[in-house]
């Protein structure tokens, strides 16, 4: 299983029936492919849709039915549409139960940086700051290490997305939970040792006596 699939599958196990869920661009989008069979959730696209379905079959796309990246999607039975003020009222107002966001860095308190690299990448924050600040639960989907450097750091060197800490980070190596300003290693990826995770992690991790393997 490749890293992205593993991360997406593990995060899909956080879904519970009835949740309103917003998926960011990149690995987070893949989570929709692995919703467990017995679970029904509502996916929100922040451009104004609840009930976002899969990518349409060839020839079945509609120019006014799109996701937040402007790509064609489908709407499931029971879907609804609304304007951007309502969409962000849902997000900021705490009505979105869970958001899954990509990450550039997460620090040991759970603070997320995911929207710009000064001088290099300035795409704009889009809805990320509102999602990271307002969703009830924030889950980050990202690779543990990029270009030989840990993305789980003591302190973010990149501009923060929010000062509200994230709840969970899932990487191809580990699940790390954040509470009260501390990071705890809560699961290992299949076949990955605690030593391998510690080596790939710059942040200080609390390592419990027993760290189970992820169930995928």
């Amino acid at each position: 299983m490749d890293a992205q699939t593993l991360i997406a599958r593990r995060i899909a196990r956080e879904l519970r029936t009835g949740m309103l869920v917003n998926l960011g661009i990149g690995i987070p989008t893949l989570v929709a492919n692995y919703v467990p069979a017995n679970i029904d959730v509502f996916f929100q696209s922040e451009n104004g849709l609840i009930g976002t379905g899969p990518i349409p079959e060839a020839g079945m796309a509609h120019p006014t039915l799109t996701d937040a990246g402007g790509r064609p999607v489908t709407a499931l039975p029971g879907a609804c549409t609304f304007d951007s003020a309502i969409s962000f009222g849902l997000i900021r107002g705490g009505h979105v139960d869970m958001t899954v966001l990509g990450g550039l860095q997460v620090d040991q308190r759970g603070l997320l940086a995911n929207w710009m690299i000064p001088g290099k990448m300035v795409p704009g924050m889009g809805g990320a700051m509102d999602l990271a600040t307002g969703a009830k639960r924030v889950v980050v989907a990202m690779q543990h290490v990029a270009k030989g450097k840990s993305k789980i750091v003591k302190q973010c060197s990149l501009p923060l997305t929010s000062v509200r800490p994230v709840d969970l980070v899932v990487t191809e190596l580990a699940v790390i939970a954040f509470s009260e300003g501390r990071a705890t290693l809560s699961e290992r990826a299949p076949g990955i040792s605690i030593e391998e995770i510690s080596e790939a992690t710059e942040a200080e991790l609390i390592i419990p006596q027993r760290v189970p393997e992820m169930i995928l």
Partner: protein, 215 residues
């Protein structure tokens, strides 16, 4: 309200105007009005919108034609030309979190002095803004945004100017229609009065100043 030719509608927009434009990555942007602005070459525009779309669609056409001096948007990541012009110093880009941007436009249209939002507290977004404590929580005071013209794309318009929207093409449109001195709307279909049921009208007719004819 007699629909007017798109050339006549756009001729009212002066160089240097502040435009509020509906649309999200080009979906729900009035393409014909945008094309006509490019054709007439309106310069030094300020564009307030969700994003600058992708090259070849919506607001990106204004960027490509170098007609925009300032863009107040939440996202430019899918438009390399916006980033090039920004780095070259010919285009000023003010990035605003999307939920804050739509609320600033809403405040402008709803007669409010601003909004208080937790989004951006403790980040670069808070620079230069007033931080206000409400019951122990910090909020940023975000000021209203208004425009000279709103460019709106509807699905249905009737002949007095009531508008309804389709699916994800609604996005910023109903909000920008509240926040500009003059509202120019285009619609995929212009229908007789009464055909849009009162419950389905999203933008009330008195807000719309000009309806662009479908030629």
């Amino acid at each position: 309200m007699k629909p007017i030719p798109v050339a006549e509608a756009v001729a009212m927009i002066p160089d240097g105007a502040v435009l509020l434009v509906g649309g999200f990555m080009g979906v729900g942007t009035p393409e014909r009005i945008v094309d006509e602005i490019v054709r007439q070459g309106k310069h030094e525009l300020t564009v307030i919108a969700n994003d600058t779309a992708k090259p070849g669609t919506g607001i990106a056409k204004l960027i490509s034609a170098k007609l925009v001096r300032t863009a107040i948007v939440s996202h430019i990541g899918l438009n390399p030309e916006t980033q090039q012009q920004m780095h070259a110093g010919v285009l000023t880009v003010e990035l605003v979190p999307q939920g804050t941007l739509i609320e600033r436009i809403r405040a402008g249209g709803f007669g409010l002095g601003g909004v208080l939002t937790p989004t951006g507290v403790g980040t670069v977004v808070e620079e230069g803004k007033r931080k206000i404590d409400v019951d122990g929580q910090d909020f940023l005071l975000e000021t209203p945004l208004k425009g000279d013209f709103a460019l709106v794309h509807a699905f249905l318009a009737d002949y007095i100017g009531n508008l309804s929207y389709a699916l994800t093409a609604r996005n910023f449109n109903p909000l920008v229609a509240m926040a500009a001195a003059t509202v120019i709307a285009g619609a995929e279909h212009i229908v007789p009065v009464g055909l849009i049921a009162p419950d389905h009208v999203v933008t009330p007719a008195p807000l719309v100043d000009y309806l662009v004819a479908n030629e």
